[in-house]
């Protein structure tokens, strides 16, 4: 039990904490030079990214307090998700530089960036924690920062409404999750995931209270990944928050939620692995049925509600609910192949979803609206942004030759290999439904010509480069996807199993 020797395992987290403190102090001391804050945050993110890259391949428990019981697991799965979170954060800081919503709060940038770094720290601990106490606390850190950030622009009533709704739903779901954790602790006498697994293998504790406690913990995870019974907050919060935060919540926060869900299922219920990489789980809780049911309802509801949305942000919110449903199907396969497809999906989803939000933000900066009717004829007045948005929306639908197709392809292959044909067909039909609302935007942009108004958006070099950074991977991974697939296959390793 020597903790100082484990410190090198949490260098990325330490770097981010240092960034947080530097941002706060810089904001207090140099009140005038607020424009340096994003640069500071970007430096911190890059430094943390270097440490994360160096950490890849490490499979060690950190902060062990007795044999086999550690607070953190530094393994490939957590390192992969940390990479996704950092890349997303990098783009979000870039977005924030040219978001007019964030610019309008000139003197509060210090708080904005420090809370953003706070979210990162919370997600970092969430993806690698191996103990229910740490899972709960890091989730609270993540939620606390995002509550404030979603209501950041205080002049806008929509922002405050989003923040309030987020706080109410968030505190109820984290309360339920805490209750579930306390029930589980009462049944097993430990909060460590591996130790719970050992106890479950030993004695027969199948019981209504055990199942209930798992459902209650699932409520906390489900809130973070916004799947169906816990999705009510998503449209309102996504619509009301500043676009940068909406994009961040829809990618990074979801990635962290999925990482902790995968780790929880595998660490607590794992009993062995069979031919073809399928997990044998302890039979106390039928994860497959529960997850498949939740994901089918989630994607169907997300896609069908998105059909009626006229606000583009709200439509993207429902589309992100639908995508959470697809990704959950990958988890529901409960095999190494399924998790690989989840990891591939996340890497691609990150680029395409961030890109779609970025273009919507750049257009909203100019025309001050996200309404689909205001997009009439935009394809002709701003051809570049129109084309880019078209690429992102086609990719979100999942059509070749974009990367979204590869993401969906690997997911469906995993489903078919696991002989879940019916589920795969339902998911496929859902994709067809989603085609309608994504293409509707394109139809408004290109086929409805609005002669009265012409919008001109002069792109700054930085925003131009950011768009290229997002659109090139979406096109490239659509054709040349072997590296991302190989990388994902290496990254499914979970410590101790």
């Amino acid at each position: 039990m020597n903790f100082t020797s484990d410190l090198y395992l949490i260098y990325p987290e330490i770097v981010l904490t240092a960034t947080l403190i530097v941002v706060v102090l810089f904001d207090l001391i140099f009140k005038r030079s607020q424009s340096w804050l994003p640069v500071l945050s970007l430096t911190g993110i890059l430094a943390a990214f270097i440490f994360v890259v160096m950490q890849y391949g490490t499979n060690l428990p950190a902060f062990e307090y007795s044999t086999k019981n550690s607070l953190l697991s530094i393994d490939n799965l957590s390192t992969y998700f940390k990479g996704i979170i950092l890349v997303t954060s990098f783009f979000i800081v870039l977005f924030s530089i040219f978001s007019s919503e964030i610019k309008s709060c000139k003197d509060r940038h210090g708080e904005y960036y420090s809370l953003l770094v706070g979210m990162m720290i919370g997600m970092f601990f969430l993806v690698s924690s191996n103990d229910l106490i740490l899972i709960y606390l890091s989730m609270e850190l993540l939620s606390l920062s995002s509550y404030v950030l979603s209501g950041f622009v205080k002049k806008s009533i929509r922002n405050s409404e989003a923040s309030l709704k987020y706080v109410i739903y968030g505190s109820v779901s984290s309360g339920i999750m805490l209750f579930g954790i306390s029930l589980l602790y009462g049944l097993t006498g430990t909060t460590n995931l591996n130790e719970i697994n050992t106890i479950l293998r030993g004695t027969n504790v199948i019981d209504i209270s055990f199942i209930l406690s798992i459902f209650m913990i699932l409520a906390g995870f489900g809130f973070k990944i916004s799947v169906v019974p816990f999705h009510f907050w998503t449209p309102d919060v996504y619509e009301g928050s500043p676009i940068t935060i909406t994009a961040y919540l829809s990618v990074a926060s979801k990635a962290a939620g999925f990482a902790v869900l995968i780790r929880f299922i595998k660490s607590v219920f794992f009993s062995g692995i069979s031919q073809g990489g399928y997990w044998n789980l302890l039979s106390y809780f039928d994860w497959q049925v529960v997850l498949v049911l939740i994901s089918i309802v989630t994607m169907t509801l997300g896609n069908f509600t998105a059909l009626w949305q006229d606000n583009l942000k709200r439509m993207l919110a429902y589309s992100s609910i639908a995508h959470a449903g697809y990704i959950l199907l990958g988890v529901a396969v409960l095999s190494d192949q399924g998790i690989t497809s989840v990891l591939i999906y996340f890497a691609i989803y990150m680029f395409m979803n961030l890109g779609a939000f970025l273009v919507v933000m750049l257009i909203a900066n100019k025309i001050g609206s996200e309404n689909i009717d205001d997009y009439r004829g935009l394809g002709y007045s701003i051809p570049f942004l129109g084309t880019v948005l078209a690429i992102f929306l086609v990719s979100l639908t999942g059509l070749p030759p974009t990367a979204g197709f590869i993401a969906k392809l690997y997911l469906f292959v995993a489903l078919v290999d696991a002989k879940m044909i019916v589920v795969a067909i339902i998911a496929l039909l859902n994709t067809v439904v989603s085609l309608y609302y994504y293409i509707r935007v394109l139809k408004n942009m290109y086929l409805v010509k609005d002669v009265i108004k012409t919008v001109h958006i002069q792109l700054k070099p930085l925003s131009f480069v950011t768009i290229l950074l997002l659109v090139i991977p979406v096109l490239l991974f659509g054709i040349y996807f072997t590296p991302i697939v190989d990388f994902a296959k290496l990254s499914i390793q979970i410590l101790g199993l």
Partner: protein, 162 residues
């Protein structure tokens, strides 16, 4: 039923009844005062469980600190006592069914659970043990709590300033 059970039910009843008044009372100042009894009842249950440190923290932080802040907040906020807290749409019927079902499942779970049982021990002072745990095994959790408090401070400042 021995004296221990009797005291437990006394505190539990105090907690539940005052919590009921907290949510049903129309006057927010009265609600705040009922909250005092809820916190006090919980502190009593902590004492019964032998968690002396948590009980004292509950008294000092919740009863002593948070409640006073809450009352000050109510007093300093203009006209808050006259604000109608309840909203227009209340679905008493469906809410009762939902909450009733949830409560029933919870009750069943708590009554029939095969709880992990440890032998009854003579209560010892937990402050030292707790400090040791926080500084050794759970030092990471302790540091993370520090970050959470910092974020909470920054967030509160961000919400409060104009």
């Amino acid at each position: 039923m021995n004296i221990y059970d009797l005291i437990f039910y006394l505190f539990a009843a105090l907690t539940l009844i005052s919590a009921f008044f907290v949510v049903t009372n129309k006057n927010i100042v009265h609600s705040a005062f009922y909250l005092l009894f809820t916190f006090f009842g919980v502190a009593g249950i902590y004492v019964l469980l032998g968690a002396d440190f948590v009980a004292i923290v509950q008294l000092i932080v919740y009863v002593g600190g948070i409640l006073i802040l809450l009352l000050f907040g109510v007093m300093l906020t203009n006209k808050i006592t006259n604000v109608e807290i309840k909203t227009g749409t209340i679905n008493i019927f469906s809410a009762t069914i939902g909450v009733g079902l949830f409560a029933g499942v919870l009750l069943a779970a708590v009554l029939y659970a095969p709880w992990k049982v440890t032998l009854l021990q003579e209560p010892v002072s937990t402050t030292g043990i707790l400090g040791n745990l926080l500084m050794n095994e759970y030092v990471l959790v302790f540091e993370l709590l520090g970050i959470i408090l910092l974020i909470a401070l920054i967030g509160a400042a961000s919400i409060a300033r104009r």
